[in-house]
Protein backbone atom coordinates (compact mmCIF):
# COMPACT_ATOMS: atom_id res chain seq x y z
CA UNK A 1 0.00 0.00 0.00
CA UNK A 2 1.23 3.53 -0.88
CA UNK A 3 1.73 5.84 2.12
CA UNK A 4 -0.82 8.66 2.18
CA UNK A 5 0.37 11.88 0.53
CA UNK A 6 0.38 15.02 2.68
CA UNK A 7 -1.97 17.89 1.84
CA UNK A 8 -3.13 21.17 3.38
CA UNK A 9 -5.44 22.03 6.27
CA UNK A 10 -9.06 21.71 5.15
CA UNK A 11 -9.64 25.29 6.35
CA UNK A 12 -7.07 26.51 3.85
CA UNK A 13 -8.72 24.62 1.01
CA UNK A 14 -12.06 26.05 2.10
CA UNK A 15 -10.83 29.63 1.90
CA UNK A 16 -8.94 29.09 -1.39
CA UNK A 17 -12.02 27.54 -3.00
CA UNK A 18 -14.32 30.22 -1.66
CA UNK A 19 -12.08 32.99 -2.97
CA UNK A 20 -12.24 31.49 -6.49
CA UNK A 21 -16.02 31.21 -6.33
CA UNK A 22 -16.45 34.69 -4.88
CA UNK A 23 -14.31 36.26 -7.59
CA UNK A 24 -16.88 35.04 -10.12
CA UNK A 25 -19.95 36.07 -8.12
CA UNK A 26 -20.12 39.21 -6.02
CA UNK A 27 -23.19 37.86 -4.26
CA UNK A 28 -20.93 35.44 -2.43
CA UNK A 29 -20.28 36.97 1.00
CA UNK A 30 -18.39 35.90 4.09
CA UNK A 31 -19.55 37.10 7.48
CA UNK A 32 -16.88 37.07 10.20
CA UNK A 33 -16.71 37.71 13.95
CA UNK A 34 -13.06 38.78 14.41
CA UNK A 35 -12.45 35.32 12.94
CA UNK A 36 -10.75 36.27 9.70
CA UNK A 37 -7.32 35.08 10.81
CA UNK A 38 -8.47 31.73 12.20
CA UNK A 39 -10.66 31.24 9.11
CA UNK A 40 -7.66 31.87 6.87
CA UNK A 41 -9.64 34.62 5.19
CA UNK A 42 -7.06 37.40 5.39
CA UNK A 43 -6.26 37.04 1.67
CA UNK A 44 -9.99 36.97 0.87
CA UNK A 45 -10.46 40.20 2.85
CA UNK A 46 -7.59 41.91 1.00
CA UNK A 47 -8.75 40.85 -2.47
CA UNK A 48 -12.51 41.19 -2.04
CA UNK A 49 -13.03 43.64 0.84
CA UNK A 50 -16.56 44.46 -0.33
CA UNK A 51 -17.55 40.82 0.08
CA UNK A 52 -16.66 40.59 3.78
CA UNK A 53 -19.13 41.62 6.45
CA UNK A 54 -17.43 41.95 9.84
CA UNK A 55 -19.62 42.01 12.94
CA UNK A 56 -16.99 42.03 15.70
CA UNK A 57 -16.84 39.41 18.44
CA UNK A 58 -20.58 38.74 18.35
CA UNK A 59 -21.54 35.25 17.19
CA UNK A 60 -25.26 35.69 17.81
CA UNK A 61 -25.27 38.76 15.61
CA UNK A 62 -23.12 36.89 13.06
CA UNK A 63 -25.77 34.21 12.54
CA UNK A 64 -28.73 36.60 12.55
CA UNK A 65 -27.11 39.00 10.07
CA UNK A 66 -26.20 36.05 7.84
CA UNK A 67 -29.83 34.93 7.83
CA UNK A 68 -30.96 38.40 6.80
CA UNK A 69 -28.40 38.60 4.01
CA UNK A 70 -29.40 35.13 2.75
CA UNK A 71 -33.05 36.15 2.65
CA UNK A 72 -32.11 38.79 0.09
CA UNK A 73 -30.45 36.24 -2.18
CA UNK A 74 -26.85 36.56 -0.99
CA UNK A 75 -24.78 33.40 -0.86
CA UNK A 76 -23.61 33.71 2.68
CA UNK A 77 -20.83 31.86 4.48
CA UNK A 78 -20.84 32.68 8.20
CA UNK A 79 -17.38 31.70 9.41
CA UNK A 80 -16.43 31.40 13.07
CA UNK A 81 -14.80 28.84 15.38
CA UNK A 82 -17.21 25.89 15.65
CA UNK A 83 -17.22 26.12 19.45
CA UNK A 84 -18.59 29.68 19.52
CA UNK A 85 -20.68 29.48 16.35
CA UNK A 86 -22.69 26.47 17.49
CA UNK A 87 -22.89 27.29 21.21
CA UNK A 88 -23.14 31.07 21.44
CA UNK A 89 -25.09 31.34 18.18
CA UNK A 90 -27.21 28.26 18.77
CA UNK A 91 -30.63 29.84 19.15
CA UNK A 92 -30.01 31.98 16.09
CA UNK A 93 -29.10 28.82 14.17
CA UNK A 94 -32.26 27.08 15.37
CA UNK A 95 -34.73 29.89 14.71
CA UNK A 96 -33.21 32.38 12.28
CA UNK A 97 -31.57 29.85 9.98
CA UNK A 98 -33.03 26.32 10.28
CA UNK A 99 -36.62 27.01 11.33
CA UNK A 100 -36.90 30.11 9.11
CA UNK A 101 -35.33 28.14 6.25
CA UNK A 102 -32.70 30.72 5.33
CA UNK A 103 -30.06 28.96 3.21
CA UNK A 104 -27.02 30.20 5.18
CA UNK A 105 -23.81 28.21 5.03
CA UNK A 106 -22.50 28.06 8.57
CA UNK A 107 -18.81 27.23 8.62
CA UNK A 108 -17.47 25.97 11.92
CA UNK A 109 -13.70 26.23 11.89
CA UNK A 110 -11.11 24.58 14.18
CA UNK A 111 -13.83 22.12 15.11
CA UNK A 112 -13.70 19.22 17.54
CA UNK A 113 -10.52 19.43 19.60
CA UNK A 114 -8.48 21.23 16.91
CA UNK A 115 -7.66 23.91 19.49
CA UNK A 116 -6.17 21.26 21.79
CA UNK A 117 -4.66 22.76 24.90
CA UNK A 118 -6.76 25.92 24.68
CA UNK A 119 -9.23 23.76 26.57
CA UNK A 120 -12.92 22.95 26.71
CA UNK A 121 -14.18 26.50 26.02
CA UNK A 122 -12.59 26.10 22.59
CA UNK A 123 -13.69 22.54 21.82
CA UNK A 124 -16.87 21.68 19.93
CA UNK A 125 -17.86 18.17 20.93
CA UNK A 126 -21.58 18.98 21.02
CA UNK A 127 -22.23 20.55 17.62
CA UNK A 128 -23.21 17.41 15.72
CA UNK A 129 -25.55 16.37 18.51
CA UNK A 130 -27.41 19.65 18.75
CA UNK A 131 -27.57 20.28 15.03
CA UNK A 132 -28.84 16.74 14.38
CA UNK A 133 -31.64 17.52 16.81
CA UNK A 134 -32.65 20.55 14.74
CA UNK A 135 -34.81 19.96 11.74
CA UNK A 136 -33.78 21.49 8.40
CA UNK A 137 -30.02 21.92 8.56
CA UNK A 138 -27.68 19.70 6.55
CA UNK A 139 -24.40 18.70 8.15
CA UNK A 140 -21.19 18.11 6.19
CA UNK A 141 -17.80 17.15 7.67
CA UNK A 142 -15.15 16.76 4.96
CA UNK A 143 -12.29 14.34 5.60
CA UNK A 144 -9.62 15.65 3.25
CA UNK A 145 -8.78 18.44 0.83
CA UNK A 146 -10.70 16.85 -2.04
CA UNK A 147 -13.87 16.45 0.00
CA UNK A 148 -13.51 20.00 1.31
CA UNK A 149 -13.23 21.56 -2.14
CA UNK A 150 -16.15 19.49 -3.41
CA UNK A 151 -18.23 20.37 -0.34
CA UNK A 152 -17.66 24.12 -0.78
CA UNK A 153 -18.53 23.89 -4.49
CA UNK A 154 -21.71 21.99 -3.60
CA UNK A 155 -22.54 24.37 -0.75
CA UNK A 156 -22.63 27.44 -2.94
CA UNK A 157 -25.88 26.38 -4.65
CA UNK A 158 -27.23 24.35 -1.75
CA UNK A 159 -30.87 25.34 -1.31
CA UNK A 160 -31.09 24.56 2.42
CA UNK A 161 -29.30 25.63 5.60
CA UNK A 162 -25.95 23.90 5.81
CA UNK A 163 -23.32 23.38 8.48
CA UNK A 164 -19.79 22.76 7.24
CA UNK A 165 -17.41 21.51 9.94
CA UNK A 166 -13.68 22.02 9.35
CA UNK A 167 -10.46 21.37 11.24
CA UNK A 168 -7.14 23.13 11.26
CA UNK A 169 -4.60 20.33 10.98
CA UNK A 170 -2.88 19.56 7.66
CA UNK A 171 -4.55 16.48 6.18
CA UNK A 172 -3.48 13.64 3.90
CA UNK A 173 -5.03 12.95 0.50
CA UNK A 174 -7.44 10.02 0.70
CA UNK A 175 -9.18 9.91 -2.65
CA UNK A 176 -8.19 9.39 -6.27
CA UNK A 177 -8.90 12.44 -8.46
CA UNK A 178 -12.33 12.21 -10.05
CA UNK A 179 -13.92 10.40 -7.09
CA UNK A 180 -17.59 11.42 -7.08
CA UNK A 181 -18.75 13.61 -4.19
CA UNK A 182 -22.40 14.20 -3.37
CA UNK A 183 -23.73 15.67 -0.13
CA UNK A 184 -25.48 12.77 1.61
CA UNK A 185 -23.50 9.98 -0.04
CA UNK A 186 -20.75 8.22 1.92
CA UNK A 187 -17.45 7.46 0.19
CA UNK A 188 -15.76 4.07 0.48
CA UNK A 189 -12.04 4.66 1.05
CA UNK A 190 -10.97 1.03 1.56
CA UNK A 191 -12.82 -2.17 0.80
CA UNK A 192 -12.80 -5.02 3.35
CA UNK A 193 -15.14 -7.66 4.71
CA UNK A 194 -14.42 -8.42 8.38
CA UNK A 195 -14.70 -5.08 10.14
CA UNK A 196 -15.99 -1.70 8.97
CA UNK A 197 -14.41 1.51 10.24
CA UNK A 198 -17.01 4.23 9.76
CA UNK A 199 -15.45 7.62 10.34
CA UNK A 200 -16.07 11.29 9.73
CA UNK A 201 -13.93 14.42 9.30
CA UNK A 202 -10.31 14.44 10.41
CA UNK A 203 -10.59 10.94 11.90
CA UNK A 204 -11.08 9.30 8.50
CA UNK A 205 -7.37 9.33 7.73
CA UNK A 206 -6.69 7.67 11.08
CA UNK A 207 -9.20 4.97 10.14
CA UNK A 208 -7.42 4.45 6.81
CA UNK A 209 -4.07 4.10 8.55
CA UNK A 210 -5.69 1.70 10.98
CA UNK A 211 -7.07 -0.41 8.12
CA UNK A 212 -3.55 -0.72 6.82
CA UNK A 213 -2.29 -1.87 10.21
CA UNK A 214 -5.13 -4.38 10.35
CA UNK A 215 -4.31 -5.66 6.88
CA UNK A 216 -0.74 -6.27 8.06
CA UNK A 217 -2.18 -8.22 11.00
CA UNK A 218 -4.38 -10.29 8.65
CA UNK A 219 -7.68 -8.51 9.22
CA UNK A 220 -9.68 -7.15 6.29
CA UNK A 221 -11.14 -3.72 7.11
CA UNK A 222 -13.59 -1.54 5.21
CA UNK A 223 -13.35 2.25 5.62
CA UNK A 224 -16.21 4.64 4.95
CA UNK A 225 -15.90 8.43 4.99
CA UNK A 226 -19.32 9.50 6.21
CA UNK A 227 -18.92 13.17 5.37
CA UNK A 228 -22.64 13.92 5.65
CA UNK A 229 -24.62 13.37 8.82
CA UNK A 230 -27.66 14.92 7.21
CA UNK A 231 -28.72 13.73 4.69
CA UNK A 232 -27.42 10.44 6.08
CA UNK A 233 -26.47 7.58 3.75
CA UNK A 234 -28.58 4.89 5.41
CA UNK A 235 -28.34 2.55 2.43
CA UNK A 236 -24.55 2.42 2.37
CA UNK A 237 -24.23 2.10 6.15
CA UNK A 238 -26.75 -0.74 6.29
CA UNK A 239 -25.28 -2.62 3.34
CA UNK A 240 -21.80 -2.35 4.78
CA UNK A 241 -22.88 -3.39 8.26
CA UNK A 242 -24.68 -6.46 6.87
CA UNK A 243 -21.54 -7.93 5.35
CA UNK A 244 -19.08 -7.49 8.28
CA UNK A 245 -18.88 -8.95 11.78
CA UNK A 246 -17.95 -5.69 13.51
CA UNK A 247 -18.41 -1.94 13.09
CA UNK A 248 -16.22 0.70 14.74
CA UNK A 249 -17.43 4.28 14.39
CA UNK A 250 -14.91 7.10 14.85
CA UNK A 251 -15.48 10.81 15.35
CA UNK A 252 -13.96 13.93 16.90
CA UNK A 253 -17.09 14.53 18.95
CA UNK A 254 -18.85 13.37 22.09
CA UNK A 255 -19.81 9.70 21.92
CA UNK A 256 -23.35 10.93 22.55
CA UNK A 257 -25.34 12.29 19.65
CA UNK A 258 -22.84 12.19 16.82
CA UNK A 259 -21.97 9.72 14.08
CA UNK A 260 -21.83 6.69 16.36
CA UNK A 261 -25.27 7.30 17.82
CA UNK A 262 -26.66 7.84 14.33
CA UNK A 263 -25.20 4.56 13.09
CA UNK A 264 -26.26 2.62 16.20
CA UNK A 265 -29.90 3.74 16.10
CA UNK A 266 -30.10 2.94 12.41
CA UNK A 267 -28.64 -0.56 12.80
CA UNK A 268 -30.64 -1.48 15.88
CA UNK A 269 -33.92 -0.43 14.33
CA UNK A 270 -33.12 -2.28 11.12
CA UNK A 271 -32.28 -5.43 13.09
CA UNK A 272 -28.70 -5.44 11.81
CA UNK A 273 -26.44 -6.27 14.75
CA UNK A 274 -22.74 -6.55 14.12
CA UNK A 275 -20.53 -6.05 17.17
CA UNK A 276 -20.36 -2.26 17.57
CA UNK A 277 -18.11 0.24 19.29
CA UNK A 278 -18.52 4.02 19.26
CA UNK A 279 -15.12 5.71 19.49
CA UNK A 280 -15.07 9.42 20.31
CA UNK A 281 -14.71 11.68 23.33
CA UNK A 282 -16.38 10.10 26.38
CA UNK A 283 -18.61 11.86 28.86
CA UNK A 284 -15.94 13.24 31.20
CA UNK A 285 -13.85 16.36 31.78
CA UNK A 286 -11.86 16.15 28.54
CA UNK A 287 -8.20 15.14 28.89
CA UNK A 288 -6.00 18.22 28.39
CA UNK A 289 -3.36 18.58 25.70
CA UNK A 290 -2.94 18.93 21.96
CA UNK A 291 -5.40 17.39 19.49
CA UNK A 292 -2.96 14.54 18.98
CA UNK A 293 -2.55 13.95 22.72
CA UNK A 294 -6.31 13.97 23.23
CA UNK A 295 -6.77 11.52 20.36
CA UNK A 296 -4.09 9.24 21.77
CA UNK A 297 -5.67 9.37 25.24
CA UNK A 298 -9.00 8.15 23.86
CA UNK A 299 -7.65 5.54 21.47
CA UNK A 300 -8.28 7.56 18.31
CA UNK A 301 -5.05 6.34 16.72
CA UNK A 302 -4.32 3.75 14.02
CA UNK A 303 -3.25 1.28 16.66
CA UNK A 304 -6.06 2.15 19.08
CA UNK A 305 -8.73 1.59 16.43
CA UNK A 306 -7.07 -1.62 15.25
CA UNK A 307 -7.07 -2.98 18.78
CA UNK A 308 -10.72 -2.03 19.25
CA UNK A 309 -11.59 -3.81 15.99
CA UNK A 310 -9.65 -6.95 16.98
CA UNK A 311 -11.31 -7.09 20.39
CA UNK A 312 -14.75 -6.87 18.77
CA UNK A 313 -13.90 -9.57 16.22
CA UNK A 314 -12.48 -11.82 18.91
CA UNK A 315 -15.70 -11.40 20.92
CA UNK A 316 -17.73 -12.50 17.90
CA UNK A 317 -15.53 -15.54 17.39
CA UNK A 318 -16.02 -16.61 21.02
CA UNK A 319 -19.78 -16.20 20.63
CA UNK A 320 -20.03 -18.28 17.45
CA UNK A 321 -17.52 -20.97 18.47
Amino acid sequence: MQPLQPGSPNQQVFSDTLLELAQRDRNVLVVTSDSRGSGRLVAFGKQLPAQVVEVGIAEQNLVGVAAGLASAGKRVFAVSPACFLTARGLEQIKNDVAYSDQPVKLVGISAGVSYGALGTTHHSLHDLAVLQAFNNIDIVIPADNFETRAAVEAAIDHPRPLYLRLGKKAMHHLHAPGTPFTIGKAIRVRRGDEVALMATGETVEIAVQSAELLAARGVSADVLSIHSLRPFDETEVLETARRVQAVVTVEEHSVHGGLGSRVATLLMQAGVTPALRIVGIPDEYTYTGSQQEIFAHYGITPDGLATTAEVLLEGRRVLTR
Binding site: R36, G56, R88, G119, G289, E293
Partner: protein
Protein backbone atom coordinates in the same frame (compact mmCIF):
# COMPACT_ATOMS: atom_id res chain seq x y z
CA UNK B 1 2.73 46.66 48.84
CA UNK B 2 4.33 50.04 48.00
CA UNK B 3 4.42 51.59 44.51
CA UNK B 4 8.14 50.98 44.04
CA UNK B 5 7.81 47.31 44.84
CA UNK B 6 4.74 46.99 42.64
CA UNK B 7 6.63 48.48 39.72
CA UNK B 8 9.33 45.89 40.20
CA UNK B 9 6.74 43.10 40.32
CA UNK B 10 5.34 44.14 36.94
CA UNK B 11 8.76 43.75 35.34
CA UNK B 12 9.15 40.32 36.88
CA UNK B 13 5.65 39.22 35.85
CA UNK B 14 6.34 40.27 32.27
CA UNK B 15 9.46 38.10 32.26
CA UNK B 16 7.52 35.14 33.61
CA UNK B 17 4.76 35.63 31.02
CA UNK B 18 7.17 35.72 28.10
CA UNK B 19 9.24 32.78 29.29
CA UNK B 20 6.23 30.60 30.02
CA UNK B 21 4.62 31.33 26.64
CA UNK B 22 7.88 30.59 24.84
CA UNK B 23 8.28 27.35 26.76
CA UNK B 24 4.69 26.23 26.12
CA UNK B 25 4.92 27.21 22.46
CA UNK B 26 1.49 28.83 22.68
CA UNK B 27 -0.16 31.74 24.41
CA UNK B 28 -1.65 35.20 24.16
CA UNK B 29 1.35 37.47 24.49
CA UNK B 30 -0.05 40.92 23.71
CA UNK B 31 -3.14 40.71 25.90
CA UNK B 32 -1.24 39.31 28.89
CA UNK B 33 1.34 42.08 28.80
CA UNK B 34 -1.27 44.81 28.40
CA UNK B 35 -3.08 43.98 31.66
CA UNK B 36 -0.08 42.93 33.78
CA UNK B 37 -0.08 46.14 35.82
CA UNK B 38 -3.81 45.83 36.50
CA UNK B 39 -3.57 42.28 37.89
CA UNK B 40 -0.44 43.22 39.80
CA UNK B 41 -2.17 46.10 41.60
CA UNK B 42 -5.33 44.04 42.24
CA UNK B 43 -3.57 41.03 43.75
CA UNK B 44 -0.77 42.85 45.59
CA UNK B 45 -2.55 45.93 46.81
CA UNK B 46 -6.30 46.00 46.38
CA UNK B 47 -7.92 42.60 46.90
CA UNK B 48 -8.54 40.80 50.18
CA UNK B 49 -7.24 37.30 49.52
CA UNK B 50 -5.52 34.43 51.31
CA UNK B 51 -3.45 32.23 48.98
CA UNK B 52 -3.49 29.49 51.63
CA UNK B 53 -7.28 29.52 51.72
CA UNK B 54 -8.42 30.08 48.12
CA UNK B 55 -12.08 29.38 48.93
CA UNK B 56 -12.27 31.63 52.04
CA UNK B 57 -15.88 32.91 52.13
CA UNK B 58 -14.86 36.53 52.80
CA UNK B 59 -12.34 36.78 49.96
CA UNK B 60 -12.64 39.32 47.19
CA UNK B 61 -13.34 37.63 43.85
CA UNK B 62 -11.57 38.23 40.56
CA UNK B 63 -12.91 36.95 37.25
CA UNK B 64 -10.60 36.97 34.27
CA UNK B 65 -13.25 37.47 31.62
CA UNK B 66 -10.63 37.96 28.89
CA UNK B 67 -9.60 34.37 29.56
CA UNK B 68 -7.22 34.08 26.61
CA UNK B 69 -4.70 36.20 28.55
CA UNK B 70 -4.34 33.39 31.08
CA UNK B 71 -0.55 33.59 31.29
CA UNK B 72 -0.59 36.82 33.32
CA UNK B 73 -3.05 35.25 35.75
CA UNK B 74 -0.86 32.16 36.14
CA UNK B 75 2.23 34.36 36.71
CA UNK B 76 0.51 36.40 39.44
CA UNK B 77 -1.16 33.43 41.18
CA UNK B 78 2.13 31.52 41.24
CA UNK B 79 3.91 34.53 42.73
CA UNK B 80 1.21 34.90 45.37
CA UNK B 81 1.73 31.26 46.34
CA UNK B 82 -1.60 29.80 45.21
CA UNK B 83 0.42 26.99 43.60
CA UNK B 84 4.13 26.18 43.17
CA UNK B 85 5.84 28.11 40.37
CA UNK B 86 7.03 24.82 38.83
CA UNK B 87 3.46 24.28 37.60
CA UNK B 88 4.04 27.01 35.01
CA UNK B 89 6.38 24.65 33.18
CA UNK B 90 3.45 22.28 32.58
CA UNK B 91 1.41 24.90 30.67
CA UNK B 92 -0.30 23.28 27.70
CA UNK B 93 1.27 19.87 28.32
CA UNK B 94 -0.77 16.66 28.12
CA UNK B 95 -2.68 16.07 31.35
CA UNK B 96 -1.86 19.49 32.91
CA UNK B 97 -4.62 21.67 34.38
CA UNK B 98 -2.61 24.73 33.33
CA UNK B 99 -4.38 24.94 29.96
CA UNK B 100 -4.67 27.93 27.61
CA UNK B 101 -7.69 29.43 29.40
CA UNK B 102 -8.48 29.67 33.13
CA UNK B 103 -10.15 26.74 34.87
CA UNK B 104 -11.16 26.14 38.48
CA UNK B 105 -8.85 23.13 38.58
CA UNK B 106 -6.11 25.70 39.23
CA UNK B 107 -6.08 27.05 42.82
CA UNK B 108 -7.09 30.70 42.98
CA UNK B 109 -9.17 30.71 39.81
CA UNK B 110 -12.82 31.50 40.45
CA UNK B 111 -14.45 30.71 37.14
CA UNK B 112 -13.71 28.94 33.86
CA UNK B 113 -13.46 31.55 31.13
CA UNK B 114 -12.18 31.72 27.56
CA UNK B 115 -15.38 32.23 25.62
CA UNK B 116 -15.60 36.01 25.68
CA UNK B 117 -18.51 37.90 27.18
CA UNK B 118 -19.29 35.57 30.09
CA UNK B 119 -17.31 36.94 33.03
CA UNK B 120 -19.43 39.99 33.76
CA UNK B 121 -22.68 38.05 34.21
CA UNK B 122 -20.99 35.68 36.65
CA UNK B 123 -19.45 38.63 38.49
CA UNK B 124 -22.92 40.19 38.77
CA UNK B 125 -24.19 36.97 40.36
CA UNK B 126 -21.31 36.91 42.85
CA UNK B 127 -21.79 40.57 43.76
CA UNK B 128 -25.53 40.08 44.15
CA UNK B 129 -24.94 37.14 46.50
CA UNK B 130 -22.68 39.35 48.65
CA UNK B 131 -25.46 41.93 48.93
CA UNK B 132 -28.04 39.28 49.84
CA UNK B 133 -25.79 37.75 52.48
CA UNK B 134 -24.62 41.08 53.89
CA UNK B 135 -21.02 40.24 53.17
CA UNK B 136 -18.55 42.97 52.34
CA UNK B 137 -16.41 41.17 49.78
CA UNK B 138 -15.99 42.83 46.42
CA UNK B 139 -16.02 41.40 42.92
CA UNK B 140 -13.58 42.46 40.22
CA UNK B 141 -13.66 41.48 36.58
CA UNK B 142 -11.48 42.38 33.62
CA UNK B 143 -12.75 42.45 30.04
CA UNK B 144 -10.99 43.08 26.75
CA UNK B 145 -12.21 45.94 24.61
CA UNK B 146 -12.88 43.65 21.64
CA UNK B 147 -14.89 41.50 24.03
CA UNK B 148 -17.35 44.37 24.53
CA UNK B 149 -19.07 43.63 21.22
CA UNK B 150 -20.63 40.52 22.75
CA UNK B 151 -24.28 41.37 23.49
CA UNK B 152 -24.17 39.54 26.82
CA UNK B 153 -21.85 42.26 28.20
CA UNK B 154 -24.68 44.75 27.85
CA UNK B 155 -27.29 42.40 29.30
CA UNK B 156 -25.03 41.96 32.33
CA UNK B 157 -24.45 45.72 32.55
CA UNK B 158 -28.15 46.41 32.80
CA UNK B 159 -28.49 43.96 35.67
CA UNK B 160 -25.41 45.36 37.47
CA UNK B 161 -27.01 48.81 37.56
CA UNK B 162 -30.49 47.48 38.28
CA UNK B 163 -29.24 45.67 41.40
CA UNK B 164 -27.12 48.69 42.43
CA UNK B 165 -23.97 46.61 42.67
CA UNK B 166 -21.47 49.16 43.99
CA UNK B 167 -19.44 46.18 45.25
CA UNK B 168 -18.69 45.29 41.63
CA UNK B 169 -15.63 46.76 39.88
CA UNK B 170 -15.48 46.24 36.13
CA UNK B 171 -12.19 47.00 34.39
CA UNK B 172 -11.79 47.36 30.63
CA UNK B 173 -8.37 46.63 29.12
CA UNK B 174 -8.68 49.38 26.52
CA UNK B 175 -5.69 48.52 24.34
CA UNK B 176 -7.62 49.41 21.13
CA UNK B 177 -6.64 46.12 19.44
CA UNK B 178 -8.34 42.79 18.83
CA UNK B 179 -7.26 39.92 16.56
CA UNK B 180 -8.19 41.49 13.22
CA UNK B 181 -6.81 44.96 14.06
CA UNK B 182 -8.03 48.20 15.66
CA UNK B 183 -11.31 47.87 17.52
CA UNK B 184 -12.56 51.06 15.89
CA UNK B 185 -12.09 49.52 12.43
CA UNK B 186 -13.50 46.09 13.28
CA UNK B 187 -16.61 47.26 15.18
CA UNK B 188 -16.44 50.72 16.67
CA UNK B 189 -16.88 51.07 20.45
CA UNK B 190 -16.70 54.81 20.97
CA UNK B 191 -18.06 56.82 22.68
CA UNK B 192 -17.36 54.07 25.19
CA UNK B 193 -17.45 56.03 28.46
CA UNK B 194 -20.77 57.60 27.45
CA UNK B 195 -22.22 54.22 26.59
CA UNK B 196 -21.25 52.75 29.96
CA UNK B 197 -22.53 55.83 31.75
CA UNK B 198 -25.84 55.48 29.96
CA UNK B 199 -26.05 51.88 31.18
CA UNK B 200 -25.80 53.09 34.78
CA UNK B 201 -22.14 52.73 35.75
CA UNK B 202 -20.01 55.25 37.59
CA UNK B 203 -17.23 55.50 35.02
CA UNK B 204 -13.58 56.55 35.41
CA UNK B 205 -10.71 56.49 32.95
CA UNK B 206 -7.12 55.77 33.96
CA UNK B 207 -3.71 55.03 32.46
CA UNK B 208 -3.81 51.26 32.86
CA UNK B 209 -0.06 50.86 32.67
CA UNK B 210 0.66 53.42 35.41
CA UNK B 211 0.92 51.65 38.77
CA UNK B 212 0.45 54.76 40.90
CA UNK B 213 -2.58 55.86 38.90
CA UNK B 214 -4.13 52.40 39.23
CA UNK B 215 -3.54 52.31 42.98
CA UNK B 216 -5.17 55.71 43.23
CA UNK B 217 -8.26 54.89 41.17
CA UNK B 218 -9.00 51.62 42.99
CA UNK B 219 -8.70 53.48 46.30
CA UNK B 220 -11.57 55.71 45.16
CA UNK B 221 -14.06 52.86 44.76
CA UNK B 222 -17.00 52.88 45.21
CA UNK B 223 -17.10 55.94 43.02
CA UNK B 224 -20.77 56.59 43.73
CA UNK B 225 -22.85 54.66 46.27
CA UNK B 226 -25.47 52.46 44.60
CA UNK B 227 -23.75 52.34 41.20
CA UNK B 228 -21.50 49.63 39.76
CA UNK B 229 -17.94 50.85 39.16
CA UNK B 230 -16.39 50.83 35.71
CA UNK B 231 -12.77 51.67 34.98
CA UNK B 232 -11.61 52.21 31.42
CA UNK B 233 -7.92 51.36 31.68
CA UNK B 234 -6.06 52.82 28.72
CA UNK B 235 -3.29 50.35 28.01
CA UNK B 236 -0.76 49.41 25.36
CA UNK B 237 -1.13 45.89 24.07
CA UNK B 238 2.21 44.09 24.50
CA UNK B 239 3.35 46.71 27.06
CA UNK B 240 6.96 46.53 28.17
CA UNK B 241 8.68 45.14 25.10
CA UNK B 242 9.27 47.63 22.25
CA UNK B 243 8.72 45.26 19.35
CA UNK B 244 5.62 43.63 20.87
CA UNK B 245 3.88 46.87 21.80
CA UNK B 246 0.75 47.93 19.92
CA UNK B 247 1.09 45.24 17.22
CA UNK B 248 -2.02 43.23 16.33
CA UNK B 249 -0.01 40.22 15.17
CA UNK B 250 1.34 39.75 18.70
CA UNK B 251 -2.17 38.84 19.90
CA UNK B 252 -1.16 35.17 19.90
CA UNK B 253 2.27 35.23 18.38
CA UNK B 254 4.76 33.18 20.40
CA UNK B 255 8.26 34.62 20.86
CA UNK B 256 11.01 32.70 19.10
CA UNK B 257 14.21 31.97 21.03
CA UNK B 258 15.87 35.15 19.74
CA UNK B 259 12.77 37.26 20.29
CA UNK B 260 12.57 35.97 23.84
CA UNK B 261 16.22 36.84 24.42
CA UNK B 262 15.72 40.38 23.08
CA UNK B 263 12.55 40.83 25.12
CA UNK B 264 14.17 39.64 28.34
CA UNK B 265 17.16 41.92 27.69
CA UNK B 266 14.78 44.90 27.39
CA UNK B 267 13.13 43.92 30.64
CA UNK B 268 16.54 43.54 32.32
CA UNK B 269 17.27 47.13 31.28
CA UNK B 270 13.93 48.24 32.69
CA UNK B 271 14.84 46.53 35.93
CA UNK B 272 18.17 48.34 35.99
CA UNK B 273 16.48 51.68 35.41
CA UNK B 274 14.06 50.84 38.20
CA UNK B 275 16.98 50.15 40.57
CA UNK B 276 18.73 53.41 39.63
CA UNK B 277 15.53 55.42 40.04
CA UNK B 278 14.85 54.18 43.54
CA UNK B 279 18.51 54.39 44.54
CA UNK B 280 18.49 58.10 43.73
CA UNK B 281 15.24 58.59 45.61
CA UNK B 282 16.67 56.73 48.59
CA UNK B 283 19.86 58.82 48.71
CA UNK B 284 18.11 62.13 48.22
Amino acid sequence: MQIAELEHKSIQYRKTILSSIAQAGAGHTGGSLSCTDILNVLYNRVMRIDPHDPTWAERDRYIHSKGHSVEVLYAVLADKGFFPAEKLATMGRGGSHWVGHPTRKVPGIEQNTGALGHGLSVAVGMALAAKQDNRDYRVFTLMGDGELTEGSVWEASMSAAFYKLDNLVVIIDRNTLQITGRTENVMALEPLADRFTAFGYAVRTVDGNDIAALVDIFAQTPFEPGKPNLIIARTTKGKGVSFIEDAAEWHHHVPTATELERALAELDQAEQRWQERYATIATR
